[in-house]
């Protein structure tokens, strides 16, 4: 269970990007976060695995308080949080297998990482997951040889290799064409079911959010103003989420 309470993030002296935000994610539900650019979606996601330092508040994952972890403990907590990125963030010059295994870096020894001698069970799991998403034939291919959809599949498998307790996806389909992005969204939903994994997805595309997720969280200017089943997201709620400009409300605050 992920429980966020009273989370505030402020860049410099500006208005906070996240304002006393509360959010709880239970079970294996697929939750999407929608909102216009600058609403704070990306910052929220990055606060959870501490790629962005929260200013105050609490983030609790399965009983572990994440906001005050440092060093070794922070890394141990991050292993349990998988993340999928908009730009895939693969290492282009490494093979798909190395990219996938980099999800295990927190677990294996430095020597194994350096010599690329991965544990047998990790390799087995990698092949299973790659087969599941349809990229097993590319194990020895360099990541920059793949298409966008295939690259995002590598990104998903890398995150799943961590055996995470929760999967975060930051605009996972924004760099993909419509057909491929539907495939990736379907994949995320199906994998959440198969692996009993809660998934939190930032997404621009409201149609996809409605179709592929169990719950929609609408953010505006650092606050959650909608949180319900996709069916309840009507035009009035949409207008409220996407109305106005962030600057009107937030002043000179920083980027997401």
């Amino acid at each position: 269970m992920l429980k966020i309470t009273d989370l505030v993030k402020r860049y410099g002296d500006g208005d906070p990007v996240l304002k006393n935000l509360d959010l709880t994610i239970e079970g294996e539900s697929v939750v999407s976060i929608i909102g216009s650019s600058g609403a704070g979606k990306s910052t929220l996601l990055r606060c959870i695995n501490r790629l962005v330092e929260p200013t105050s508040g609490s983030i609790n994952l399965n009983g572990v308080e994440l906001t005050n972890l440092r060093g070794r403990n922070l890394r141990a907590a991050r292993r349990k949080i998988g993340m999928v990125f908009q730009g895939f963030n693969l290492v282009d010059r490494l093979t798909v297998m190395e990219n996938v295994q980099s999800g295990r870096l927190g677990y294996i020894s430095t020597w194994a990482a350096m010599t690329r001698r991965y544990p047998k069970e990790d390799i087995r799991r990698a092949f299973q997951l790659m087969e599941r998403v349809g990229i097993a034939q590319y194990a020895n291919t360099r990541a920059d040889q793949l298409s966008g959809g295939e690259r995002q599949r590598v990104g998903v498998v890398r995150a799943l290799m961590q055996e995470p307790d929760i999967l975060l996806a930051d605009e996972p389909t924004a760099s993909l064409d419509p057909k491929t992005s539907e495939q990736i969204m379907g994949l995320l939903r199906d994998l959440a079911g198969e692996l009993k994994l809660p998934v939190l997805i930032n997404i621009h595309n409201v149609t996809e959010a409605k179709e592929y997720t169990d719950r929609i969280v609408g953010m505006r200017y650092g606050r959650i103003i909608f949180d319900d089943k996709p069916d309840m997201l009507d035009q009035a709620a949409m207008d409220e989420i996407y109305a106005g400009s962030p600057h009107a409300d937030r002043g000179k605050a920083g980027a997401t």
Binding site: T95, E98, I123, R124
Partner: protein, 264 residues
Amino acid sequence: MSIERDTWTKPPFIANPALRWAVYLGVIAYFGWVGMNMPIDWERVSEGIGRAGKIFSGAFPPSFERSQLLIDGFLESLKIAVLATAGGVLLSIPIAFMAASNMAPRPIFYLGRAIIIIARSFHPVIVAILFVKAVGFGPFAGVLTLVVYSIGFVAKMLAERIEEIDFGQVEAMRAAGAPYLSTLIYAIFPQIIPRQIGLSIYQLDSNLRASAVVGLVGAGGIGATLANAFGRYDYDFALAITIVIVGVILLSEAISGIIRKRIQ
């Protein structure tokens, strides 16, 4: 899941295993064998630490007492660099035309390329020694050396630029009935002049660096001052000279960078 795979090895960089092992063994054998057989006098080398201590204690604090000598040496280096750049840049224009495959007939092209290759192959210090023997000690040998050095670089780059020029303009001029020289001035020079100016500034900077070095073998300038100081065990003066050289090089690098940026 059809087959359970639990082994994976990174595809090796050299696919052919025989070649791969040959390369590995070759590299190890080279470094091992050559490393063992190097003509090294370990006893003499091991004395080095003590000597280093002596040299450094002799070098600190750097002595700027004979600053007049330093300034004279440095000014001479500057003069050498200026004259060599002017001479080298002028000479490199005809040589570059000779060495451009789209300008010169074959035999002349080969001659031009040969001049460039020879000028580039020899380190300026080697050229300097020969010129010192031919024309005597002093800055003139230094100027000649750096002229050769400049030709090696400027003529090469310029020849490459000439080979890339847009022949449409040349043809347009010829079609308009322009004589050869006018074609050269109006169609070709405008295309290479900006590059030539950039190269000249770069080369002036390079020549200033090199002029500090050719002096070590008697070709004048600050290098000669440094070699003298070293030869007389005046390590504190040598350090002062080195500091000035480093400072001047950094300064000239910065200035040349700024000028080249403004030109482009």
